[in-house]
Symmetry: C2
Subunit: 218 residues, 2 copies
DNA sequence: TCAATAGTGTCTCTGAGACATTATCTG
DNA sequence: CAGATAATGTCTCAGAGACACTATTGA
């Protein structure tokens, strides 16, 4: 790399920060409540508060941020096949006691079924706050992720597919209530999402009351 | 820095990327059209296409991304007193031929008066495209910045204050048409912004026709 | 039959969009 | 006065929100 800048120096003559990625992976717990996947750090070299799955960007090998985020999900909580989205960079110089570490926060939403059997731990996100603090500035990351998810769910019916492939309107409404963090009115909700749904022709039978029709996302 | 990770290594044992900030500073040119501030790079060590004002993050001294963005604006185009906002990270491994450089793109909107007399050059952003290509992936940055600006201007009247402190509704409409990139209907526009404005009590006199009342943002 | 859940008709309110009209200035 | 620009009355349409009613099932 023989390039020099306006002062005649090479890139590597300057001090560089470490760059990490952290992923706020949101999901619903068994009770249908919004939660974020964290991992307990119990090793000899990494103890302390639970943290979001994260890792350092591997510069050798030209890894992208997206690939690093996928690697963190796989290695830290055993989740694969996701498509995390960039949220923002957290750059408080004091955010990591080990040195100057920028964190490129990512966010994704995943169905509960993809979490089961993994090493991830669910931390409920009750009205925007966690039951215990997270490591580094990860509480802040979760707060941003939550706003991102709410914006997306306000704009389209279940964009992440948390309700699964086929669902009744009431099931879909439950997912939206969990993510958006507020109760919704069923008739208003139905009309809001109707355009984005296709009827499957099936019904959800075997319950008390009138069986509900099921839908797919368009 | 004695901290070690789960593999017993220090942070600085890993290869780290260079981190740059680039700022898409949007403004209106003399004709009231949307433009982005670029600078020509004519030095011996940096020739080529015009680029957005940018710089490398200074890790020594614990510089934040925001401070680096402000420094880039001051040193590269002579603009001060702004509040750039983070847009996203561009991380294509091939985006900079000098090596692995992540760019944290920022965006800001500034009144034309703050650009006059600076070393910046205005590149018009005609319906989202530039008249000539920019260095690196800066065309992509501008495209994202434009979307950001349009979203903000769709939500509130002139959030960046491009119209100045006191303006007529038609002047405000001209600013919004330039940023949003479409013609607006005056009566619809007036009602849309009315809530966010306060009447000054003055009128814009000395023109032909009925003098217009002037407003301030609330 | 009743209890429970699903689904819809309809009313109000708000805001965008558009057309046409009225108001007030300069020359 | 004419011409130009400012400002607004009013109509339509669409969507959110809410209430109440009807529909269909199991027990």
């Amino acid at each position: 790399m023989g390039w020099t800048d306006e002062h005649g120096r090479r890139l590597t003559d300057y001090d560089r920060p470490s760059v990490a990625v952290d992923v706020a992976l949101l999901t619903l717990d068994a009770g249908g409540r919004l939660a974020v996947v964290v991992h307990e750090r119990t090793g000899a070299h990494a103890r302390g508060l639970p943290a979001l799955p994260g890792t350092f960007l591997h510069v050798d090998g030209a890894e992208t941020l997206r690939d690093a985020a996928l690697r963190a999900l796989r290695d830290k909580v055993g989740v694969t096949g996701r498509e995390p989205e960039q949220l923002r960079v957290f750059d408080d110089p004091a955010r990591d006691p080990r040195g100057r570490v920028l964190s490129v926060a990512h966010v994704d939403l995943v169905g509960h079924d993809r979490i089961e059997g993994t090493t991830g731990v669910l931390a409920p996100v009750e009205d925007g706050t966690l039951p215990y603090p997270l490591a580094y500035d990860h509480d802040l990351v979760v707060a941003h992720a939550l706003r991102w998810a709410r914006d997306r769910y306000a704009a389209a019916p279940d964009p992440a597919g948390l309700a699964g492939g086929e669902f009744t309107l009431l099931e879909l409404q439950g997912v939206h209530e969990a993510v958006e963090g507020r109760r919704l009115q069923k008739d208003t909700f139905r009309r809001r999402v109707a355009d984005g749904l296709v009827e499957t022709g099936h019904v959800r039978a075997g319950t008390v009351g009138k069986p509900a029709r099921t839908f797919r996302r368009r």
